[in-house]
């Protein structure tokens, strides 16, 4: 079987991004072909370490392809390509930025070097800024840039301290040295976490996200809210599971930040009466939960939760963007009954929402079920109680929103006359297909989760405390 070099997932979009400048007329073709080729490359990647320029680590940069990176890349590239197929017209003038974003996001997942990670982080942020400027909310984009810049200086400062202490930037070597002598690295680890907290939208560093995602269209919503958020969390999963060694105090301190995010995010989403705002704050709360799991030794479940939420949020932001565009806003009153005239979109949105809230039959439910079961097994009771309470709140506001979007407004017959994508048949069917395929995947993985769960276990193995991950599967109940 063919074995391709993972650097292609970074180099190809970059080459296309700059070549496109000479062929503006076929810019869309570059975007679509580039995204699709990347899926092809990812499918032919083999696990292993790939040296860049022939320099062996720790002297050279390496790209690390393991199960974690492989499945993260697959989800990222599939979601990215699907989005590019839908928004070709809007992306026409931003082809280069989109391709550069893809290259940087792939690099973030693959890199085995901490400084290289910073570079990809910055490239991804700069590309995101240019993409965000397409919604013409420049002040919000500027705030995003300011927050990102503060985050990156924190990251770099932390990295400097680690380099001073351990003398390496290679992730694997850093882990070896930290495991041998972890004392003195707490400040650096905290700084790096805070730096990344801006990108994964943890409170109180998530204020930039409100400005951007509240106004996001069908392109920026899935891109920043789902794809960027998911990839950044995958990076956090890599660093805080495989690389950094933390003592209990640091873990507790960082966990408090994630708990504040979980509670604050759910409360803000509960209070909101706008679809995109609900999705934004629900995403913030989910980011808190995902980071909490990663920090507290449940990386496998954290990983699968990231992928599940990434897919669900992608579908919801996509449809919310279209709805807001057609209806001229996204407050509940304006969109009441919108799904009556758009049942296919309504079905996809409902499935994604219920999965995000963790209701039975959907993938999100299986993930949360496994999470609670494992937490109970490790005699942790306050965390399951908190997660259950947060899920309850999330279930309430998600159902309230979904029912509102299905319910007929008083005095109306036959549904609200907002037709999502009523003007473009080709695009309408493309949105039907992609949102339906993704929402059906959430149902399919909910009904038959065994493969997904075993991939998560293979990707992340036993949790960080050495406890085995016990999975509730559909084949014969509970298994290890």
């Amino acid at each position: 079987m063919m074995n391709l070099n993972p650097v292609l997932t970074i180099a190809l979009p970059l080459i296309l991004a700059f070549t496109k400048i000479m062929y503006r007329r076929i810019a869309n073709l570059f975007l679509i072909v580039g995204s699709l080729i990347n899926i092809f490359v990812v499918m032919f990647l083999k696990e292993g370490q790939y040296l860049m320029g022939g320099y062996r680590p720790p002297f050279g940069i390496i790209l690390q392809v393991d199960t974690y990176a492989l499945y993260s890349l697959l989800v990222l590239n599939v979601l990215f390509a699907a989005l590019m197929l839908l928004v070709t017209k809007k992306a026409e003038n931003l082809t280069s930025s989109s391709l550069i974003a893809l290259a940087a996001l792939n690099g973030l997942i693959l890199t085995g070097d901490l400084f290289n990670l910073f570079v990809f982080l910055e490239i991804a942020t700069i590309a995101a800024l240019i993409l965000v400027s397409s919604i013409k909310k420049y002040h919000q984009a500027f705030n995003y840039m300011v927050a990102g810049a503060i985050g990156s200086t924190f990251y770099l400062l932390g990295l400097g301290l680690l380099y001073k202490q351990y003398g390496t930037l290679n992730m694997a070597r850093m882990h070896e040295l930290m495991a041998a002598s972890p004392s003195g690295s707490a400040v650096a680890v905290i700084l790096i976490f805070i730096g990344l907290a801006v990108e994964i939208k943890l409170m109180p560093f998530s204020s930039w996200a409100a400005g951007v995602l509240k106004n996001a269209d069908e392109w920026i919503g899935p891109m920043i809210g789902a794809i960027y958020g998911g990839v950044m969390m995958i990076v956090v999963g890599r660093l805080f599971t495989d690389i950094f060694v933390m003592d209990a105090k640091v873990r507790l301190m960082l966990s408090l930040l994630t708990l504040i995010t979980l509670v604050g995010g759910e409360a803000a989403a509960f209070q909101s009466r706008k679809v995109r705002e609900v999705l934004l704050y629900s995403g913030v709360a989910q980011a808190g939960l995902e980071a909490l799991l990663i920090l507290n030794g449940y990386p496998a479940i954290g990983f699968i939760l990231v992928l599940s939420n990434m897919t669900a949020k992608y579908v919801m932001f996509l449809l919310a963007g279209y709805m807001a565009e057609e209806a001229g806003g996204d407050d509940f009153d304006r969109l009441t009954g919108v799904f009556r005239s758009n049942p296919v979109h309504g079905f996809a949105f409902t499935v994604a929402g219920l999965s995000l809230a963790g209701l039975p039959l959907f993938f999100g439910f299986i993930v949360k079920l496994n999470l609670l079961y494992n937490l109970m097994l490790s005699h942790s009771y306050w965390l399951p109680a908190l997660i259950l309470s947060a899920s309850l709140v999330e279930g309430i506001y998600m159902l309230r929103m979904i029912l509102g979007l299905w319910r007929l407004p008083e005095g109306h017959r036959g549904g609200l006359q907002v037709r999502i994508l009523g003007s473009s048949h080709r695009r309408k069917y493309a949105v039907y297909t992609i949102s339906m395929v993704l929402s059906l995947a959430l149902i399919l993985f909910g009904l038959a989760p065994d493969n997904a769960l075993s991939i998560a276990r293979r990707a992340r193995g036993a949790d960080t405390d050495g406890k085995p991950l016990v999975l509730i599967t559909m084949k014969g109940g509970i298994g290890q």
Binding site: F115, F118, V119, E122, I123, T125, I126, L129, I130, S133, Y138, H139, A141, F142, M145, V146, G148, A149, I150, S152, T153, L156, L157, G160, Y163, K164
Partner: protein
């Protein structure tokens, strides 16, 4: 403590001061250009921090000197190489920020953030 060792500590405090002044500048100022300048201060402080990490008392510039074969005699070249990249990155973010500021100024006719927020809330 020799003078050189003393100054090697002082420089870290100066860098910290620069960083903190940048951070508070970003938090305190409502004018977006001042915010951007404060952001640059923070970024410069981090670059200086990295460069100082690579220095050593009595170290030679990391370019091969004939007859000087002991690697310990040279300062660490890696932080300098890394910071070249960081400088380019900072330049890019500043460029994009300035572009945003031009558009914001055209749209709102002001760069005062509190005034922009006030108008946005209307």
């Amino acid at each position: 403590m020799t003078m050189a060792v003393f100054f090697s500590y002082v420089i870290f405090w100066l860098i910290a001061l620069l960083y903190v002044s940048g951070f508070f500048g970003m938090m305190e100022h409502h004018h977006l250009v001042k915010k951007l300048m404060a952001m640059n201060l923070m970024q410069t402080a981090v670059i200086l921090f990295f460069l100082v990490l690579g220095q050593k008392i009595g170290g030679v510039t990391p370019i091969a000197v004939p007859g000087l074969t002991d690697p310990d005699a040279y300062v660490n070249p890696l932080p300098q190489a890394l910071m070249l990249t960081a400088i380019v990155v900072n330049l890019s973010t500043t460029g994009i920020a300035l572009a945003f500021l031009i558009v914001i100024k055209k749209h709102w006719n002001t760069l005062d953030e509190s005034e922009i927020m006030r108008r946005m809330d209307k």
